[in-house]
Symmetry: C2
Subunit: 348 residues, 2 copies
């Protein structure tokens, strides 16, 4: 019998328990210290408030202080579904409690700023676990367009999956594949992780067009601002592509599920687009956040704050050509410096 | 004084007269024999029924039999805004009436099937004009996300522009740039033209997801089918990328305005998406077309019919690997063979 342990019982971590259970495995869903209400709900009703679907019978919910207990029952695969802010906590917890070298699979998206570049989260986890005494853990990640509520509703979802040691990928693919969850092996872990993180950042810029439309109104002939949104979408994909190359990734990840696919779905809705919308209406970042999204984590804005100083350093030293990044510069100015949002080509 | 002649008074040809006139030029808008009602409307009301905006004062409308007269007044740039089906007619008309070698700029999108590949329309026009005795005409094209109604409403629109002789591009860019029409030179004419044509074809597949959603309904938790639409979007972009390379184009065109940008806007609305929607509800192509879109030209379906046999030949001979093109195969089966639409990864 295969056991899969998911750490992090937010929408995505919990949604992942559906294909894991439907593929025939026993699933331990372990909440973080912030997930206590959700774990209680799952225990009492079998329903996660964010997903609104009955969990499969082979999923057992655990609170954060039961992680050791859940691990002692065995875990052939450990899945990390915490937020990017929760990664250090997850490393600490797993470092203390892990007994063997089960592969770790990240659902969490983000980038860690370094002096001269960026570190992908699987690498951060691998290094962190090794420092905690759990060496040689293979760490991989899933990326691609996968809204949690749709996965939990067992709707067709296609993702890419990669491990630093890509010989591991086929085994994990066959472990998780179901009739509705379609996993495609991808050897470009750096590329897919860069895409997965950056799509949130750039979705802010695409959302801006909708906000600007709300501010400006329809034209006399009913025209909207699809041309502007699409131009920003394309410019964003070009900038993502340059950053992916800078991080050692390949173009195929940019045009595929992790890049264009996930970026497309992220621009259709969600908190990053919503923040962009608010900026497009003319609000500044701090006011938009405080007045309209005070309790929301906007991952693209968190990423801007985390990697902004490094990006600016790379622009200043010419390691990245600043003129190649008009959108990144606009988002950094808006989020990090709280300046009015000025998307290029627009004379406001 | 610079004169710009636009041949084709449909929505896009007419919309192009706005930046052309606003950039300070005198514009001759010449309808085809199919545009007679529109030309009459423009003459009587100064409004094109598809655009619903007053045309600039420096635009003069001509009927198709006045093309010679309009050309005799001079034309420093000739813009082709006819449909792809109208290209042979336009070549014939221009071949007979053109006096000098003014550059020709295509707004028309399409691909011409050849035994072993595809010809882009600027090349078809160049060869056709030469055969008609008008040699050495530089032919270029505009591509990118540009809904005609938004351009006519003077909303920010970003496009790429290229000529077979790329030294011509900067001059035409400076001729046409206005505060709302932003042109970016692109030397990859083959790539931008392949993207511009193929986006219509692949938008049918993305539209399929919305039709399938309408057929299936929301999930019990309210989940839609964004994951599926996004996966199809990404797979389409990957297939477009392979075809662009096959045609000698470059990856940068695929991630940029002509590729991802135009594809994004095409998937938001329009006739190609609408056909895909109908196929997604379970209708076959002929029935969908006859019952719901009898009077519409669906450019993506026209392209499927035009290039389908060549694509199948390239698959059969292995010049293109068929397994790389699951979506193209699905669209060809649906449109050319009138079979039920079967998008991969879906067990219907």
């Amino acid at each position: 019998m295969t056991r899969i342990l998911i750490l992090g019982a937010g929408a995505m971590g919990t949604a992942f328990s559906f294909p894991a259970a439907d593929a025939g495995h026993t699933v331990s869903l372990v909440g973080t210290h912030l997930d206590a209400d959700w774990i209680r709900s799952v225990r009492e009703t079998r329903v996660h408030p964010k997903l609104k679907v009955q969990l499969p019978a082979t999923v057992t919910a655990y609170t954060h202080n039961q992680l050791g207990e859940a691990l002692r029952m065995g875990a052939d695969l450990i899945v990390l579904g915490v937020s990017s802010a929760g990664i250090p906590w997850a490393i600490e917890q797993l470092g203390a409690a892990m007994r063997d070298q089960a592969p770790v699979l990240l659902l969490t998206k983000g980038l860690e700023a370094r002096e001269e570049g960026f570190q992908i989260l699987p690498e951060k986890v691998r290094v962190g676990l090794a420092a905690a005494g759990v060496a040689n853990v293979p760490v991989g990640a899933v990326a691609g367009p996968c809204i949690a509520g749709e996965l939990a509703a067992r709707r067709d979802s296609c993702v890419v999956i990669g491990f630093s040691d890509s010989t591991l990928t086929p085994g994990v693919v066959s472990l998780l594949a179901t009739s509705y969850y379609h996993l495609f092996p991808n050897a470009d872990l750096a590329g897919i992780e860069a895409c997965a993180a950056l799509k949130n950042f750039y979705a802010i810029a695409v959302g801006y067009a909708a906000g600007r439309l709300a501010q400006t109104g329809k034209a006399e002939n009913g025209a909207l601002m699809h041309n502007l949104a699409a131009a920003i979408f394309a410019q964003a994909l070009v900038e993502i592509s340059v950053l992916v190359h800078f991080m050692g990734g390949t173009e195929a990840s940019v045009t595929g599920l992790a890049g264009a696919g996930d970026f497309y779905v992220t621009c259709q809705a969600g908190r990053n687009s919503r923040l962009g919308y608010l900026l497009g209406t003319g609000l500044r970042y701090r006011e938009a956040k405080a007045r309209h999204m005070a309790n929301d984590t906007v991952e693209g804005a968190e990423l801007a704050l985390a990697i902004g100083p490094t990006l600016q350093r790379l622009f200043a030293t010419g390691r990245l050509a600043p003129q190649t990044f008009p959108l990144a510069q606009a988002i950094l100015a808006a989020v990090c410096d709280d300046l009015p949002t000025r998307i290029p080509w627009i004379v406001v």
